[in-house]
């Protein structure tokens, strides 16, 4: 539980931080600071428990059927990293409080920082490999957000994108590797995997697993050839760099190599892959660092080089090498964090980080300068500082592994030492020399608490450097035991080991480094050099950019070939795919046992001769005769409706009939907004059809005929095949005793499948609201807005009248009388169909459609303005109440301890009416009814209002006296 708390704490902190106001710098810092301090205290409290190689494990069930559980696991190694993450995290928060400008949106910063901390803790505390990869990717994402924090800057965006692409891709490789590893071992649990080292090393998949996992680790810790993302990530605010590139993000790769060391190391492949990458990285990194002009750039390359050093130590895999690797991981985190912060202070105070401009800062920033010089000395490996100790261990291992066969190993180590001294000198050169005159801002010592983290870290450098065994001895030892177990070597954490070869190498590195620096300065114009000598062609970024560019171009090319933005070819491909799928049934045809065809009903035959003719005629005339096509489709719809009626489905027939009516009205409302298309206008085109068009039509005709034929054959086979098992029987048998209704279809809708129906009315409501919203934004074509010819004919007196006047005095007077009388009757019919729905054909859907038709008729008759001045429908309220009623009916079952939408039937005896049968499904049906009415009305009214809008645009506003917005 404690371990889960460690991860949850920063996560919750991150969520809270995101919600604070944007100028709450102090509150953000207090929050984040206390989160990391609490975490630190919790972690420190665990130390006695894990000191002697014990492991704390907490397991939460996650996906047990896949062998995946949330496992949190703390041993001394992960404890060490936890302390680094939380400790450096705390100092960075403190520092960031002063570093961030009041103009920066701090909630985002602290929220991302805490989220990153969560992810990082997740990586080190995971006891399950899949879970580890999950948190690993989260560190990639959160570091992307942190590096790109100043997203108005191009370099920040680019740096963030690059870091994310590289580390994210590495994370995918890691996932693949971990999946393979899980297949080999049969479990993703870290303890099981750690116990199966021999199995893994001897497995035929060992090499792919090693390469994939190493790719994950090497990309994350910026090893050659993936190192180039790290310098570009320097576009981040300095606290982020101090955090990500000293103690956390890049150390995740190191952590992974250490974690996997017991199972993957011990082979030639491991040595060549890991140590090889490490050697290249440390040499390239340290050499490039000398020639940087940006303080942070120098530190970035130096970080790359130190990570390379640790990787080499892990690669050569001697027990003492592992000790040195762990030790250097701690030391590097301490001195590099302080150097980044010092660089940040210089940047903050003088507004530049350019080494060519900065000089003589010592007199202006004496304390910061002293601190930075001590930390740089540690980075260079000067005795009595922590960097010296671990670097000397590295020299010792390099010499030992090098021997006489691999002499180059010793020389590589020495070269790296020399370069480190040189770039450390370059870094502190900003404090000496003549006082710079042209700084953008005269620097002063920063606030005390901004410098405090640097002071504390430099103090640690000294303490560890002078009394290593007393200060970090126990921590290091327990981490070594956790990693090496009984292979842990005997070592002596002392400052003085006598005059031996490593000490000679240290001295040689110091002397040569100083010499190299001054030679470069005097004779090679180090201050103004823009190009790194010899190694300058190594530019990972160029390769990266060109790969990205080529991929983009290739993707565009591929899209041109395989995709189209035209609708018709897409439809065609879908249909051809459908036909292809249908052809798959051909081999099965011989096994069919078909029943005999039943006798043909002549009425049915005639019905479908008409219906089919209507469909074909509609297809023929839809281009030039839209109204005719619409009517013909109505004819087909009627034929469908009659078919439903004949084939024992009265509910369907009713619904189809009503939908037919409403659809026709709907499309009629839309027709006027379409562009005129008359055959006579396109006569030219009509008479001389080009060959291309003929071919296209022929092809489409063929597809259409073939599709129709196929679907007819399939339906015929389906109709003539014997019935299989069906669940319909269940509904028929249970409908009356358990649903309390004799109309099985309605009982199905509102009771058995009530949840489906609830979903369907929700869809209906969403569509109606979408239509309404779209019509508020969309403008129909302006050229269709002018009144049609029929309404501008001067001979016709009706042209002078408004629609309301038509009804009162004009042509529409007689229909108006009829239709207004009809309204209450139609409402009554709707209620009748609604009430009888449970037992006889009818129900909420049908009744809703009938009621809508009744209202629509009034609109058609007298016009929108007239109706809305008398009858305010407010359809959205109908929708809202309908959904609410249906939903509450369903929820009611919950309160009585039944699943959602369980139906209950109450029988009430009332005077006069006799016994009333009141199922709860009835209330549900009321909801359905209201949603159907509301949706239909909303769609139709929204559409009809378009006409008013265009009138409003073209005519003076006094006609439009009513507030239409309030009525819809």
């Amino acid at each position: 539980m404690i371990l889960a708390l460690l991860i949850l704490l920063p996560l919750v902190g991150s969520l809270i931080a995101a919600l604070l106001p944007s100028n709450a710098r102090n509150r953000e810092a207090w929050l984040s600071g206390s989160v990391s301090l609490t975490g630190l205290a919790v972690a420190a409290w665990q130390f006695p428990a894990i000191k002697d190689g014990q492991v704390i494990r907490h397991e939460f069930t996650w996906l047990p059927e896949y062998g995946l559980n949330l496992v949190f696991r703390l041993d001394a190694l992960s404890w060490l990293f936890t302390i680094l993450v939380l400790g450096i995290g705390f100092l960075v928060v403190l520092y960031a409080r002063y570093y961030m400008s009041p103009k920066d949106p701090v909630p985002r910063f602290f929220s991302f920082l805490l989220a990153f901390m969560t992810a990082m803790l997740g990586v080190v505390l995971s006891g399950n490999l899949i879970q580890l990869v999950l948190f690993w990717e989260l560190t990639s994402i959160t570091s992307f957000l942190l590096i790109g924090y100043w997203h108005h800057r191009v370099d920040a965006r680019k740096g963030a994108r690059m870091a994310f692409t590289i580390t994210g891709a590495g994370g995918l490789c890691l996932l693949a590797g971990v999946l393979l590893l899980g297949q080999i071992v049969g479990s993703y649990d870290l303890d099981v995997v750690l116990a199966s080292g021999d199995l893994i090393r001897n497995h035929e998949w060992y090499r792919p697993v090693l390469v994939l996992i190493a790719l994950g680790a090497l990309t994350k810790s910026a090893q050659f050839p993936f190192h180039f993302w790290l310098p570009h990530a320097m576009a981040a605010p300095t606290p982020v760099s101090a955090y990500l590139h000293s103690a956390t993000m890049v150390k995740a790769g190191i952590f992974l190599l250490m974690r996997m060391w017991p199972v993957l190391s011990g082979t030639q492949e491991w040595v060549w892959l890991v140590a090889g990458a490490g050697v290249c990285t440390m040499l390239i990194g340290s050499f490039f660092a000398i020639f940087q002009h940006d303080l942070k750039g120098l530190l970035a390359y130096s970080t790359i080089s130190h990570l390379g050093l640790i990787t080499v130590l892990l690669g050569i895999s001697t027990p003492l090498g592992i000790v040195a690797a762990i030790f250097h991981t701690m030391n590097h985190a301490i001195f590099k964090a302080s150097l980044f912060m010092a660089a940040g202070i210089i940047d903050h105070e003088s507004q530049t980080r350019d080494i060519r401009i900065l000089s003589g800062l010592y007199s202006m920033l004496p304390i910061t300068a002293t601190l930075a010089i001590v930390a740089s000395a540690s980075m260079a490996g000067v005795p009595l500082l922590n960097g010296f100790l671990s670097k000397e261990m590295f020299f010792a291992e390099a010499v030992q592994i090098g021997g006489t066969d691999n002499w180059w190993m010793s020389w590589a180590a020495l070269a790296m030492g020399i370069f480190s001294v040189a770039y450390s000198l370059r870094f502190i050169s900003v404090f000496f020399g003549p006082k710079a005159e042209d700084l953008p801002q005269i620097p002063h010592e920063p606030p005390q608490w901004m410098r405090f983290p640097v002071e504390l870290l430099v103090l640690l450098c000294l303490v560890v450097g002078i009394i290593p065994a007393l200060s970090v001895g126990p921590i290091l030892e327990s981490a070594v035991i956790a990693l090496l177990g009984d292979r842990a070597p005997i070592y002596n954490l002392a400052v003085w080991h006598g005059f031996n070869l490593p000490l000679m190498m240290s001295i040689a590195a110091l002397v040569c480094g100083v010499t190299l620096y001054f030679i470069l300065r005097q004779f090679f114009d180090l201050r103004n050099r823009t190009q790194v000598p010899v190694l300058h062609p190594i530019k990972g970024i160029k390769i990266f950019d060109s790969i990205l560019q080529n991929a983009t171009v290739a993707a565009e090319g591929l899209l041109k070939v395989v995709a189209t933005r035209h609708l018709q070819p897409q439809f065609m491909i879908i249909l051809i795919g459908l036909l292809g799928a249908l052809l798959l049934i051909v081999p099965l045809l011989s096994e069919l046992q078909l029943q005999d065809v039943s006798a043909i009903d002549p009425f049915f035959a005639v019905l479908w001769i008409i219906g089919g003719a209507c469909a074909v005629a509609a297809a023929w005339s839809a281009k030039y005769h839209r109204l005719a096509a619409l009517l013909l489709i109505g004819g087909t719809g009627l034929a469908t409706s009659v078919t439903f009626l004949m084939l024992s489905a009265p509910d369907l027939a009713l619904t189809q009939l009503m939908v037919e009516t409403v659809t026709t009205v709907l499309i009629l409302l839309g027709l006027r907004w379409l562009p005129p298309r008359l055959a006579s206008m396109e006569k030219e085109l009509y008479e001389h059809i080009p060959m291309r068009v003929r071919l296209r039509r022929g092809r489409d005709f063929f597809i259409a005929v073939f599709c129709g034929l196929m679907i007819a054959v399939v339906s015929c086979i389906a109709l003539l095949s014997p019935r299989g098992e069906s669940i319909s029987e269940f509904f028929l048998l249970k409908s009356l005793p358990e649903g309390g209704g004799t109309n099985v279809v309605n009982v199905l809708l509102v009771d058995f499948r009530g949840f489906d129906t609830f979903g369907e009315i929700t869809v209906l409501a969403i569509v109606a609201l979408t239509v309404f919203a779209l019509l508020r934004r969309f403008r129909p074509a302006p050229e269709s807005a002018v009144a049609p010819r029929q309404q501008t004919n001067a001979v016709d007196p009706a042209v002078q009248q408004t629609t309301a006047e038509h009804v009162a005095l004009g042509y529409m007077r007689i229909p108006a009388v009829y239709l207004r009388f009809l309204l209450p009757f139609m409402a009554m019919v709707a209620i009748y169909f609604f009430l009888r729905g449970h037992n006889l054909p009818g129900g909420g859907f049908v009744a809703g459609l009938i009621f809508s038709t009744a209202v629509i008729l009034q609109y058609m008759l007298a016009g929108t303005i007239w109706v809305e001045s008398r009858l305010r429908m407010q359809p959205y309220k109908w929708i809202a109440w309908g959904l609410l009623i249906a939903g509450t009916t369903g929820l009611g079952a919950w309160f009585l301890g039944y699943p959602f939408l369980t139906s209950h039937t109450a029988h009430v005896t009332l005077p006069l009416l006799g016994e009333l049968h009141l199922p709860s499904a009835f209330m549900f049906d009321v909801g359905v009814f209201m949603v159907v009415v509301g949706s239909t009305m909303l769609i139709l009214i929204a559409l009809s209002h378009q006409t008013l809008r265009s009138h409003r645009q073209s005519s003076p506003p006094e006609k439009d006296a009513l507030s239409l917005r309030s009525s819809i």
Binding site: A615, A622, L652, C707, A712, L719, E760, L775
Partner: protein, 114 residues
Amino acid sequence: MEIILAAAIGVLFGSGVWLILRPRSFQVLTGLLLMSYAVNLFIFSMGLVWIDKPPLIENAEALNPADFADPLPQALVLTAIVIGFATTALYLVLMLGSRGLTGTDHVDGVEPPQ
């Protein structure tokens, strides 16, 4: 009976296919309407065709399910019809909006080069 129903479904579907392959948005709208009839009839026909079978049950005792029309496809098709109306409305609005924005009723929003 079955042959006529199957042929009807085929004719409706074929006409619909022809229309949705046309370039004008109104043609596609009508095509979708015809296809939805065809598909509704198709789903409905999966419950077999029963002429004059009672769709309502009157007596829960001694009920032989084989004597009644299959309620399941009916319930499915009923909601399909209503949802079909909603999608038609949505398509219509998109069609009008596209026409207003692009000035053409071609489905791609641009007139093809002549």
